[in-house]
Amino acid sequence: MLSRDNRAYHSTEWIAMSPASRRRLLCMASLAVTVAVVPACVADGGSSAGARPTGLVTGDLNTINQADVADGGTATYTIFNPISNWNRLHANGSTYSVIDIASVIMPGVFTILPDGSLQLSKNLVEDAKVANNNPQTIVYRLRADAKWSDGQPVTADDFAYTWKVQDPDKCPECQAATTAGHEQIASVEGTDGGKTVTVVMEKPYSEWQQLFSSLLPAHVAKTYAPVDSPAGLAKGFNEAFATKAPTWSAGPFVIAESTPDGSVVMTRNGAWNGPRPHLEKLVFRLITDTTQQVTALQNHEVDVIYPTPQVDLVEQVKGLREVAYQVTPASHAHQMFLNLNSKPLQDRALRQAIITAIDAKEIIAKTIGQFDEKAEPLRSHLFVSNQPGYEDIHSARGYGAGDATAAANILRQAGYTGVGSKLVAPNGQPVPALRLPLRGGQRLTTDEAELIKNALRAIGVEVSIVTTNDLIAVARQGNWELALGNLNRSPFTATNQAPYYRTCPPGQNFCGFNLGNYGNAEVDKLFEQALTTSSADERMAHLRRVNVLIADDYAFLPLYQQRLLLAYRGDLANIRANSSDFPTYNSHEWGYVR
């Protein structure tokens, strides 16, 4: 039973209230509404009134966002993956976060610039050249003042150690991310107090510039384990370098502390022989969710974010005040793979029809074209648009033309029936639905898959889209006919691309990264020739020929060149996107505009 004191009747209460009480209540209600509405009304878009441009910034890839900067300040750069292995050269350590950090502290002989060209790291080496072609001998002359943060000089010992841990002959147990090129080294010798490094190759390696892209300090390795035995090499490489946050550096900054939350604070490396970094501190902050990265940038908790661009993400960044951003082409190619283990797809005519029916322009318009109007279909198998060697070899072959009529004609001429309804192969067997596995939660890829499905339905080919969390496992099990994925097309074309196209040994359905069991003996031969020639022109000629041969086989459909999104405080200058060596490649130049 309710107490009379506590009972209130709704219909009479307002009348019973005093005028003062009513006014108080109305004021409170108005305040509540204002507090609820004002945050939504606060405009966050538009350009800053300051001198620096905000919003979309364009320009030459190597000089975009260039400005004169002041000394001092701290910049906080966002990393995406938790650091589970500190060794950038280890198979488990070759993650984006570790590469971001390693670009600052681990020097390499050559730096890959944002436009994909190579630049000698003049702070480390005076020069690097092939002194002899038979055997191929590369001589590096190190700078006398190149040293690690503890004062120890960078010498041939560091080169020798970095070689051995990436050569399976020298260290079979070392879990290197890649051994490409290093397994072909016969010897590494040092002279002139270790400042001249002579590398002799067992057989010529045309892309020798990709050797020693990150150096490990040999003198530090010796404190972990002996470096003169395979067991010692493995222990140091797999364990010590992997588990210990590096306290050494030969770059502009050195790690001062790594925090429990997976973030890293760097301070200037006083022993660095390059131009003094402008920033006083460089912080790498771990934020694993890209949506939270944008909010953190908006709230000035971070100064730079480098997420994979998505339509809604770019829209969010556009709306931020005092924030500039760049959308630039990456060195990654997004393409469709066809599984040649699948019987129907062993028919070249069907593959050609599939590739002709798919409309690459439509796919681009519905995906990256929404945030980059300049995006065009990728017309090459081995190169991206800003690389030497890029040429349009696809248009003439109908790649990504979206021409269902031409595709249908190809099928009819090859003896297929049921074109446009339910395709039947020349042998009378109906063509089964082609499985296209996708990783769940990726909006752009899902949209793409739907467009591919619609395009192929027009020629009578059904596509079954399957969502999976483990794309590689599905691919290795062979439960697919079509797949979408990215390839990194670095300047070292033959080294990076060959694993995707090299013929698998007999009896194997896949090998290396050739999951679709593509094989062409001529392509194999030309890749080998491209890798072992000492002439740059010959190398390019071989690769161009490979490009054409792969195109004629209709086993892959390059769709577009991926995009990079780099967003940062409007007054932070000299920071630019870099697909290969990451934006931190020139961290010593970053700074706040004067």
Partner: protein
């Protein structure tokens, strides 16, 4: 009481074993922990993959792996993590402190606000105040917490812009470069705690305030309260000395049952606010198919929830002298 505590703990052990085994099976069958490694560009050599499989005991049968983990658990051996530089025991210890801060903060905030709202609503039942609180509670209960998180973050950013300085923060449990000075450090931690703690507490406030209101209304209408009023005791004395204590008992019951929900909610909050706590550890471990890490998380969390429930039971006994545990 000691016997009761020991019996509760003893009951929790077989439940935890079954739960960890089920989770182990689920994680093991969800995919290959080495999938990311195998998908690397360029791909690693077969030898590298073989060594990694040996390190993670993936070359052993499922039951053997689980059995070895179970045997090692009491000795503090939590098994190898997919992440090379991570020791699961050290990671859990450091992250537990972070989550503990968030969960306890949210629990206490929710409790305090629920009691206040519940008492006011009950005393002013069927007034605009009561209706306002009811509406708010319904809102907190029905809206997803991540939606609130987004709104609160934007409100926090607007507040910072208004004040021209960083008062509240949207990511992390503390500044990467912490300020010097104890007071500044406390303010920094508080600034990072405000938004996630409020977010996590909101759903509980919605539910608990209604329980507290209902309990208070029932107690306020009971005979002993009527007697107290008729004896001439003041309103405040009746409310806080007599009614509230009796009305807290159901709230303690409900809140102790909700601790597990708070821990679950902290998983979402840690993801949204990027706190490196147990929730973030769980999400990362699941995404990396790190079976040992996930099982270890479950074992530690199960024990924690059991212990916190036991504490609530003891508080229950303090509030109500009629309760005695065998």
């Amino acid at each position: 009481m000691v016997t009761y505590v020991l019996r509760r703990l003893a009951l929790a052990i077989p439940i935890a074993v079954v739960a960890t085994f089920v989770v182990f099976l689920m994680v093991s069958f969800s995919g290959d922990p080495l999938a990311d490694l195998k998908a690397a560009t360029p791909p690693p050599s077969p030898r590298v993959i073989e060594l990694e499989e040996q390190r993670l005991h993936l070359d052993q049968p499922l039951l053997v792996r689980y059995g070895n983990w179970l045997v090692g658990l009491p000795q503090g051996e939590f098994g190898p993590s997919v992440r090379t530089n991570v020791r699961i025991d050290e990671e859990i210890l450091s992250r537990a402190a972070v989550t503990f801060r968030l969960v306890i903060g949210a629990f206490l905030l929710a409790l305090l606000i629920s009691v206040v709202i519940g008492v006011i609503s009950a005393y002013r039942q069927r007034t605009y105040v009561d209706h306002g609180f009811s509406f708010a509670a319904l809102l907190f209960l029905s809206m997803p917490t991540f939606w609130f998180a987004v709104l609160l973050k934007q409100a926090g950013i607007s507040l910072n812009d208004l004040l021209g300085r960083d008062v509240v923060y949207t990511v992390g449990e503390g500044s990467i470069i912490p300020p010097t000075g104890l007071a500044e450090r406390v303010v920094d931690i508080a600034g990072h705690m405000v938004l996630p703690t409020i977010c996590l507490a909101l759903v509980s406030i919605g539910a608990w305030s209604r329980f507290q209101r209902a309990a208070m209304v029932e107690v306020l209408n009971s005979d002993f309260i009527r007697l107290a009023r008729s004896k001439g005791l003041s309103r405040n004395r009746v409310l806080f000395r007599h009614a509230l204590r009796a009305a807290l008992i159901p709230l303690v019951t409900v809140s102790s049952m909700d601790i597990a929900a708070l821990v679950s909610g902290s998983v979402v909050m840690e993801k949204v606010f990027q706190w490196r706590g147990m929730g973030d550890f769980l999400v990362t471990s699941i995404s990396q198919r790190d079976a040992y890490a996930v099982m270890s998380w479950l074992a530690v969390t199960a024990v924690t929830v059991v212990v916190l429930n036991l504490i609530c039971d003891m508080v229950y006994g303090l509030l109500d002298p009629r309760i005695r545990y065998a």
